[in-house]
Amino acid sequence: MTQCCGELLRSTDLTKTYSADNGSVPALGPTSLALGHGETLALVGPSGCGKSTLLLLLAGLEKPTAGEVLFKGQPLTRPHREIALVLQDYGLFPWKTVRRNVELGLEIRGESMDSGRLDSLLAELDITEKMDLYPQQLSGGQRQRVALARALVLNPSLLLLDEPFAALDTLTRERLQDLVAAAWRKHAFGMIVVTHNIQEAVRLGRSIAVMGSTPGRILALVANPRGCSEDYRGQADFFEMSRLVRAHLEQTA
């Protein structure tokens, strides 16, 4: 295998069939995608089309039934230290304070972070004052910031987000999208965002994969070079792009 130039992640014919008590569930059909270093991809599709499944496979958390994932040219068979994941329900541990949640990855890896860099990250995410609280004392938006902090302290080269803002109100959601876009511009990690929200896909994905169901697969790939750029939302080309993605999505239904 040659290590390809500038490619961070590639999946080839990735397939996942869950075996359940009442037979098998074909969650994801053969799916291939690629992501360059520092690029972003939005996966948008209806509920149940296999988006989370795909993300878990790309995170090395579930084993594919067929196909493989290459991360930096190497087969990915288990979680990788450079891949960080944020789940829809944030995956924070209610028995740990915000500080211990944020530092858990470092603690597990036996690493430490210089306090200047940690402080600037916490300030960037606006959670500096919340460090001694427990997650259940925070609002949904604050919890999501903590989950992002926990992922970003690990300085990942790939950030995977599963419906990160689905449970938030519109304004909070948009503010957090802008925050993630700003973090991406600053830290230049590769990013894959799973969402069922068209505008979120357009806001964050520099390419947008439209998925269809049973089994899940990618039906269209739309280039969106202004994704993650400043002040994109509210501009004419943003709405134009949203309309285009919607048209693709409607074809899947």
Binding site: R81, L85, L87, D89, F93, K96, L104, Y134, Q136
Partner: protein
């Protein structure tokens, strides 16, 4: 401190009702709290009384410790390994409904009439309560919590330390608090056989002598013992599960 005040209030209320009942029925039928308290004070000045209390306390604490040390690890393993659970679950389901107290003669035959037999009997009853609670709490740990932990680079050991154990702990404390009620009740049975010491024996002995005030003293002591244990587990839970109060 609020706990103490509410305990004081509860106890006064209970004593008041008891006293009213005694006046109404007559001391010959229902011994009043004043008589019982006087008896308790005079009994507490004898070393024999404290010997009874000490014997019971030792048996209860040893049984709680033994069942905790065996049931909780097994529950954690069953709750986090589907294979182990599938294998063991039928065994538990078949043995759990057997009222453990009917095993008393067998246990005493095997482990003897001394403290060991009694502690084994008490532990046996607590074991299942703790085991099932722990197992179910460990099973309930969410998939997303596991994914999160593994994606941070955690191993199975980290999963235990950072996720399964802390999430199971509140349920374990609840089970322990419930167990205090059970253990004190069963204590009375096991101390009715083959011993000269323990609060259970004390009550039976008083009964034999038709010493009603002393019967009540025994009951009061058991109640206090149960309440103290309950509060200890409550305090421990508040210390170790601070996040639950937030």
């Amino acid at each position: 401190m609020r706990t103490w005040r509410s305990y004081l209030l509860g106890a006064s209320l209970l004593l008041a009702f008891w006293q009213i009942g005694a006046w109404w029925a007559g001391e010959s039928v229902l011994t009043g709290p004043a008589t019982v308290l006087a008896e308790l004070v005079s009994e507490s000045e004898t070393s024999r009384f404290w010997h009874h209390v000490g014997a019971s306390a030792w048996r209860v604490i040893a049984a709680l410790a033994a069942s905790f040390a065996t049931a909780v690890p097994v529950g954690l393993v069953l709750g986090s390994s589907r294979r182990a659970d599938r294998f063991v679950r039928p065994v538990i389901n078949l043995t759990y409904p057997v009222p453990k107290i009917v095993l008393l003669p067998l246990v005493l035959l095997i482990f003897g009439l001394g403290d060991t037999g009694k502690i084994v009997m008490l532990s046996l009853i607590l074991f299942f309560q703790l085991l099932i609670t722990t197992r179910d709490a460990a099973t309930a740990v969410s998939r997303s919590a596991k994914y999160s932990l593994y994606s941070l680079g955690g191993t199975r050991r980290h999963l235990f330390v950072h996720v399964i154990w802390p999430s199971v702990l509140p349920a374990v404390f609840t089970a322990l608090r419930i167990a205090t009620g059970t253990v004190v009740a069963v204590l009375f049975f096991v101390e009715s056989i083959g011993t000269q010491y323990g609060v259970g024996f004390y009550i039976l002995d008083a009964w034999g002598r038709a010493d009603v005030p002393q019967i009540f003293v025994g009951i009061v002591v058991l109640a206090i013992m149960g309440a103290v244990l309950y509060e200890i587990f409550d305090v421990l839970e508040r210390v170790f599960c601070r996040w639950k109060q937030m």
